[in-house]
């Protein structure tokens, strides 16, 4: 007797519905793994910081990173960095470096400042590829480094193809 179902609509050989379902479950399991497992090629944040500070461990405090905790659109995220510094010839901020460790290019920007800035206070707009920790490292003319960071949740990430 002939089947009422056209042979064209048969399941492809070797890929049963059960296999598809099982594969899907496995894929979901993979996606639920911590991000480390997926992105082995990302450099750890400590390494990124050590590279720009030439190995020195930056101190906390004296620097404020103002960034929203939740952003809808990663294509433009307002950030403001303030460093407590007298900004004199002897004691000023040399530069402020911004790092996003989950961006394809983690080094986002570097602000070069000097005593003629008067205040160490800068702001800009960033592009974030994923929810992550944004870090600001400032180099002081007295030789030390200071660091501040902020966790940001990004609802719509930048770096989607075509976006």
């Amino acid at each position: 007797m002939s089947s009422p179902i056209s042979p064209h609509s048969r399941r492809p050989e070797g890929l049963s519905r059960r296999a598809v379902v099982a594969g899907g479950v496995a894929a979901v399991g993979l996606a639920a793994l911590p991000p480390r497992a997926q992105a082995e090629d990302l450099q750890p944040l400590a390494e990124l910081i050590a590279r720009i500070t030439e190995g020195a461990v930056p101190k906390r405090g004296k620097i404020t990173l103002d960034i929203p905790q939740l952003v809808e659109n990663g294509n433009s995220v307002d950030v403001k960095i303030t460093v407590e510094s007298p900004m004199t010839e002897a004691d000023h901020v040399r530069w402020i470096h911004l790092i996003a460790d989950k961006n394809p290019f983690p080094d986002m920007a570097r602000f070069h400042l000097g005593p003629r800035c008067g205040r160490a206070e800068v702001a800009t707009t960033l592009r974030l590829a994923a929810s992550q920790k944004v870090t600001a490292v400032a180099a002081l003319s007295t030789g030390g480094y200071v660091v501040a960071d902020g966790d940001v949740v990004v609802t719509l990430s930048a770096c989607i193809d075509g976006g």
Partner: protein, 107 residues
């Protein structure tokens, strides 16, 4: 090339005052790598540097990478020392430069 800059700062200041300068630039800041729909990829084309020169000295410089958004906004401060032009210069991938000036009168 669509480039346009809006510089917001006070027109005059007292000597020694710290003024805030806000710069909003119109630029696509193409990070590169997207498909161009014809089998290739879009090349990177961003403004990679902004410098501000005031009374004979560079007072501010921003090195930008792809992590800076399209139509970037930047704000910074400087101490008013003498009447004169503040010269802003952007450098684009490929070597093009754009220059704008803003006049500050110091009393």
């Amino acid at each position: 090339m669509p480039f346009n800059a809006r510089i917001t700062m006070p027109a005059e200041a007292r000597a020694g005052d710290i003024i805030e300068i806000r710069v909003l630039t119109r630029h696509p800041m193409d990070r590169g790598g997207q498909s161009d729909g014809k089998g290739g990829t879009v090349p990177r084309m961003i403004l990679n540097r902004l410098t501000a020169t005031y009374s004979g000295e560079q007072v501010f410089r921003l090195d930008m990478n792809t992590g800076i958004s399209a139509n970037p906004f930047v704000s910074f401060t400087t101490r008013a020392v003498a009447s004169g032009d503040i010269v802003f210069e952007w450098r684009e991938d490929g070597g093009a430069t754009y220059t704008r000036t803003a006049r500050l009168v110091v009393t």
